[in-house]
Symmetry: C2
């Protein structure tokens, strides 16, 4: 056994004595004497998008208490806003405190128990991530795999369901790593005929291309705040159908401030921005129409510059994240760095299966304008002239 | 087997057709046409505290990308700021994306495996919560219990360690439910002699009363952004000693954006505020001195009004959260509601073991001023005159 510590008792309140007795061994950091450096950028990557002044102002309001009546009202308002944006009447609809990735974890953690058969549709990074998270949860995982840039047909999904008989299907609506949109009509009915729940990731797509949670029979749907909704990252709208209720009650660490739990410890002012944007300022139909039109305008411009679009079928292109092949002989990183440094515009390279192959240009909400598209097309033209082109 | 779904294939791109084919069944919510309601309040509860204009302005800056160079620099700056505020040189020091409660879960999730013996010091709500979270993680839990308003002596802790031989001790530095501060000098050495890690919750205390992570031998320490640091809630500074490393590698869902993982999916602008406040504008020593002096000033004022302080020993009173018994015959809720509605000041009732018994007045960072204390003392005096007093 260790020695007695009696001799220390005399010193027990040394921390309340005059300051001379506390020696600070770590000095104040000089770096923090410099002002915060936040350059202005046009954010045309796959998210986050820019935040319009009205929403920045909402998020910059003074705090109130997390259990003040006004805070519960704001949470109620966000809930009805999500119900509209998701087109659902689900009672269990809320913004969780975390990024879209956190919503993916919350969705899987509350649905998957060790040994559950889970079918994951993998045609890009988000399916891969869902496999990873489900694996950590001990699921019996089956993958339905398609090449990057393609989507799944109902027939392919039906075969996967029939073969593996999963209790859950995970599928991505807007696969932002490749710029493909997954058709969802009929998918809920199909899954339910196989007694399988349907979990859809709509982080990159919601508000930019149609999704109708109840009509399409989706059981769990989530998105992020920092894409089409143009709020800062850190909140994630999520909704669960009644079919999910038996599963949620089995869930893990969700009691405090989480899904299905008490309303405590909300991030307060971080919810002011979603409150200002969740119902989409233009309304859903106008927002879908705007994103589609602007995506076509961008894709036409890219093709005029000689780019080849990554997703072949025009109707399968995600309007919010537009992917084009890196032109032959160019280095993607040199192009994105040139555009960032010379034009103050963020565009992105590939991710996961598209890494090194594509450039991705995001047009989300407030950022989806013809003016911004002209700017980024001009910047790309400039990049193709100035960046190094290797010998072919 | 379910019927074939072949007939649905024709309709697979209906969601890209003209808008007339999508019928929205959930109308835009009328509530969201009203402006956001956020009243101005002086937040003198146990947190969140008010956010000063300089920090609000930092948090209201436009977004940059989560993997932009400037964002990594901001995260580096926050890290050295936390190292100063915690007085540690631990390399694994970061702000996680979540409230202080999320930090508690992250700390336990990365430390506790099923069957591990965990000793939890319970003298208020935070020990109770740690028991709850550890139970969900499958720990073999032992509780060291003291009455609300008291702290643990080294002798008591030594006996608990000797009896249960835990691999982890959880203890709360500033028990905000009762307003007591836990002495920490000598505790790390004591735990390590028993081959036990020391996990300290400093959510309500950090920056307001001395804590010296390395000198006091603390292995895991965390706080929240919305207390003395005066930032919005949603980020939680946390640090792990090298003794923790073997445990972290066993951890669960921490790969993405979490502890010890890659730097992805940070909440971007939510980190601008901690960057502006983490090194404490006045410096640590001045901040400790200020909180102590102002707490004494408040306590004297409360006693002049006839209040009895909940923590008997003056040196054991937490300067950031000051608890006093609800005066005999009064209803706590009537008092706090009167002060909120009539004076625009939030003070709080009890929580957990102090629920219904006490009033709690928080003086945190920017809010810890004699001017604010005079305001709340005046409001309390007014409440004692106007609130209903039952027959004794």
């Amino acid at each position: 056994l260790p020695p007695s510590v009696g001799s220390l008792y005399m010193n027990i309140f040394s921390h309340c004595r005059p300051m001379a007795t506390q020696k600070l061994l770590v000095p104040p950091p000089a770096a923090l004497l410099q002002p915060l450096l936040v350059p202005d950028r046009l954010m045309l990557g796959p998210g986050p998008s820019n935040v319009p002044p009205r929403i920045l102002a909402a998020g910059g309001r003074q705090l109130i208490g997390h259990i003040h009546e006004e805070m519960f009202q704001i949470m109620d308002e966000i809930k009805v806003g999500i119900q509209y944006a998701f087109q659902t009447q689900n009672a269990l609809t809320l913004a969780i405190s975390g990024t879209g990735h956190c919503a993916m974890e919350a969705a899987l953690l509350n649905t998957v128990e060790p040994g559950d058969a889970v079918l994951v549709a993998v045609n890009g990074i988000w399916g891969e991530r869902a496999v990873d998270v489900s694996q950590r949860l001990g699921a019996d995982i089956h993958q339905l795999v398609k090449p990057a840039g393609e989507y799944f047909t109902l027939k392919e999904i039906e075969e996967g369901l029939a073969q593996h008989m999963p209790s859950l299907l995970f599928i991505t609506h807007g696969e932002s790593s490749t710029g493909v949109v997954q058709p969802l009509d009929g998918l809920g009915d199909l899954c339910h005929r196989f007694n399988c729940l349907l979990l859809v990731d709509a982080v990159a797509s919601l508000g930019g291309t149609p999704i109708l949670m109840d009509q399409q029979g989706i059981d769990i749907l989530y998105t992020g705040s920092q894409k089409v909704l143009n709020a800062p990252p850190g909140t994630a709208p999520i909704s669960f159908s009644e079919r999910m209720f038996p599963h949620i009650s089995r869930g893990g660490l969700v009691k405090f401030g989480g899904v299905g739990g008490e309303r405590i410890y909300s991030p307060i002012s971080l919810l002011f921005s979603p409150r200002a944007t969740i119902a989409l300022p233009t309304g859903l139909e106008n927002s879908w129409k705007l994103h589609k039109e602007n995506s076509i305008y961008l894709c036409e411009g890219l093709q005029r510059l000689g780019f080849t679009l990554f997703v072949k079928e025009p109707e399968a292109r995600l309007p919010t994240v537009n992917a084009a092949w890196v032109p032959s002989g160019y280095d993607w990183k040199e192009i994105t760095t040139f555009i960032l440094n010379t034009h103050g515009i963020e565009i992105s390279g590939g991710l996961g299966p598209s890494a090194g192959k594509v450039l991705r240009i995001g047009l989300m909400g407030y950022n989806s304008t013809k003016f911004n598209i002209d700017r980024v097309l001009h910047a790309l033209q400039d990049a193709l002239q100035h960046c190094h082109k290797s010998k072919m």
